[in-house]
Symmetry: C2
């Protein structure tokens, strides 16, 4: 989608995000952002996700000199207004899965796109509602045994064995995996239009 002479950079170490961007057919370089991911209590969940995405994109943009477009993203899982992070141990994992059991929660991904030469800035945020089946104690324990929950926000991977726990979703599926592909594609097209206008001048 983006111009051939613009280097696309994904400011994320997440293998899921790389895979999604590859699925879109984009060619890109990965430069993980190593920045402070502290949440701001005075901001909403959507604002926090967007701010973290911006921090990541800015962190990488500051290190780059070439004509590039940098994508930063951050995904937050929340239930009843409380953000669930990545579980640190079995107990936290079991507690998060119990919180998700039998009801709906929200997955919010903030995305920030920063262009260098020409300068460009865009950020946005997409939320998907996810409805879980009621999970038994045995199902939660068996799922933790697979080790899948360990590096996942909210302690599950919809693209993995937790697929069977998800009764339905409302919104973009790929947003739950880690990148809102449909909206990102629209924004990359918009950047492309911007770039063309800039270069015809």
């Amino acid at each position: 989608v983006i111009p051939k002479n613009i280097q696309l950079i994904l400011a994320s170490a997440s293998p899921r995000r790389s895979e999604l961007l590859r699925q879109m057919g984009e060619i890109f370089k990965i430069i993980p952002a190593n920045c402070n991911e502290t949440l701001q209590l005075n901001l909403t969940i959507a604002e926090n996700a967007t701010l973290l995405a911006k921090k990541k994109a800015e962190f990488v943009a500051a290190k780059i000199d070439e004509a590039a477009l940098i994508i930063g993203a951050d995904t937050l899982v929340s239930v009843d207004g409380n953000i669930l992070g990545q579980p640190q141990n079995r107990e936290q994992s079991a507690q998060m899965l119990s919180q998700l059991s039998g009801k709906s929660h929200e997955v919010t991904t903030g995305v920030c796109i920063i262009g260098k030469e020409p300068k460009y800035f865009q950020n946005f945020c997409v939320t998907t509602k996810v409805v879980f089946n009621t999970l038994t104690r045995e199902e939660i324990e068996a799922y933790i045994d697979t080790k899948e929950p360990m590096d996942k926000a909210g302690s599950y991977a919809i693209q993995g064995k937790a697929a069977v726990f998800v009764k339905e979703i409302h919104g973009d599926y790929y947003n739950v995996v880690g990148l809102p592909l449909s909206r990102l594609y629209e924004e990359l097209k918009r950047y492309n239009e911007f770039w063309k206008t800039k270069n015809n001048k």
Copy 2:
């Protein structure tokens, strides 16, 4: 999920369905059903999907002697009440994608589970609503160039490059890929309970 001494059989040649069943962690054998897939005009879309799934499961069940559980499935894509099949050429593919552009359509998967020794029968049907972005002529042509639409009902693969066309879905994502994983898992658990009751007698 199902008892160890029951052979699980997928009555489908679809590589997507095999992959989904594998994602659930199930071990199974594939025996494609080779039966008449004609649609019945006097039946609804949901009834047709369920009937085709039943035909496929019955076709394979008739060939099996062992203690087995056979899963048949059929996925129908429909827009404004009209079923879209698999495109036979570029023109059909372009026409289907134009029909899906900028609005919502339905993906319905019928599933039939047939058990042999002990006898078991269950069928059900799951529908997911899929909302497409507006596609340009260029996007449609570029997508057809990828060859992805060719063996797909409705001329797209949500798990492939058409991901960016899908604004949102309402329901089970995996149902759009070809198997309603969450409901299937519930039904396999139900079969397991049935089998236990049967074998404790």
